[in-house]
Symmetry: C2
Subunit: 190 residues, 2 copies
Amino acid sequence: MWPLLKEHIEKHVALTDEEFEKVCSFLTFRRYRRKQFILQEGDISRYESFILKGCCRIYDTDSEGHEHVLQFGVEGWWVGDLYSYLTQTPSSCNIDCIEDCETVQLTLLQQEALYKAVPLMERFFRIIIQNAFIASQRRVLHNLSKSGAERYKDFIEKYPHIEQRVPDRQVASYLGLTPQSLSRIRARKR
Amino acid sequence: MWPLLKEHIEKHVALTDEEFEKVCSFLTFRRYRRKQFILQEGDISRYESFILKGCCRIYDTDSEGHEHVLQFGVEGWWVGDLYSYLTQTPSSCNIDCIEDCETVQLTLLQQEALYKAVPLMERFFRIIIQNAFIASQRRVLHNLSKSGAERYKDFIEKYPHIEQRVPDRQVASYLGLTPQSLSRIRARKR
DNA sequence: CGAAAATTTGACATGACTCAACTGGAGTGG
DNA sequence: CCACTCCAGTTGAGTCATGTCAAATTTTCG
C-alpha cells in the first residue's frame, strides 16, 4: 500500500513490514480536485497530509490582501500548518491544489496513537521536521542575501520540476517578487 | 544543577529527578569569552549548545563578504548549525559571543546515547525543533510581506531584551537591512 | 586617554513596486 | 467553429524604499 510512502519512511528509519502496515492503519486516504482547498484560513489544520500525487501550495494572505506562497507541495512532501495543527487553533494559511491530488492524512490524535504503537515514528517525524527546519533557515538566509534574479535562478535549479507545474505568479510570490518583476527578470535573461 | 535547563526541559516533557540527573550526565559545561567563537566557518559544528548565560549570534558571510545574522541566542536557547552537526560536515556559519557565555553542550554521539538512556528526550528535541521550524517559517513570511520599518517594530516588540544587548548593526543584519537604513528608520520614528 | 568601532547623516543610484494598458491563450456558450 | 470572456503574462512610465559610497560624529573599550 502506498509505495511512495514506504520508500519515504524507509529513507529515515528502518521499519519491518509489519510495522509499516501498522503505520498505514493510522492513515486516511483522501483525494482533492484541482483548485480545491485542503486547508482554508480560519479553520484548524486538522491533519498533516502526505502527498502521493499532485501539487499544491501553502500560502498566506497579508493585511493588504497580497498572497505569499510559503511552500509548494508535490509527491513525497508533507503539507499542513504545523502551528495550527499542534495547538488546534485557527490557521492563517490556505492550502489549495494546483493539480488534482491524492494524499494520506494523519490527525493529531492519530499521530499520538501512532507514536505509541510504533515508537520509531517519533524519530521519523523528528527527522522530517529537522530537515524542514534546515531548509527554512536556508531560505531565510537566501532571502536576506540574494537579489530577485539570483533567487529565481536558484529556484529553477533546485525545483525544475515544480517550476513547470506552477504558474509564474505563484513562483514570484514564493520568491517574494511581484509577477511583473519576475517577468522582467526572465525577459532580461533572454 | 543548571536550574534553567531543568525548567526548560520541564516545559516540554515530564522527567523524574533521576532522569534529569541522567540527562545532565551527558552534557558538558563550557564557558566562552565575549568575541570568542563557539563555531567558526569551515569547522564542523560538533555540538549543540544550550545557553545558560550570555548572548551570541549565528551568522553567515556571503560571497560579497557581507554578514547575515541567522539567529541570536540568549539564556534558554539552543545554538548550533544543525545541518553541519547532523551530517558532520564543515559549516558555513559562525557563532560568536556578544557577551561572556556559559553553556552546556551535547555532541551527536552524546545525544544518541542520551536518546537510548532517556527516550523521552527524543520527544523533547522533536518539540524544540518543531518550535524552531515554526518560528523560521514565520520569519520567511515576515521577510516576504513586511517593510523594513515593520520588521524592526516587530523585532523590538518580540525581543526587547535582545535588542538592548546587541549592536544595531547586527539587528539590521538580522532584519535584512543595512545599518544605514536601520538608522534612518529609527530616526524617522523620533 | 586614544584608537577602533559603531552610528548617523548626506547625496545619489537602483531594484523592485504600483498602476495601467496591451497581448495571447484557455475555456465557454451560442 | 466562432465570438466572447477571463486570466496569466508582458511591457511601459513613474515612484519609492532601500542600497551604496563617503564623511562626520559618537561610543566603546583596551
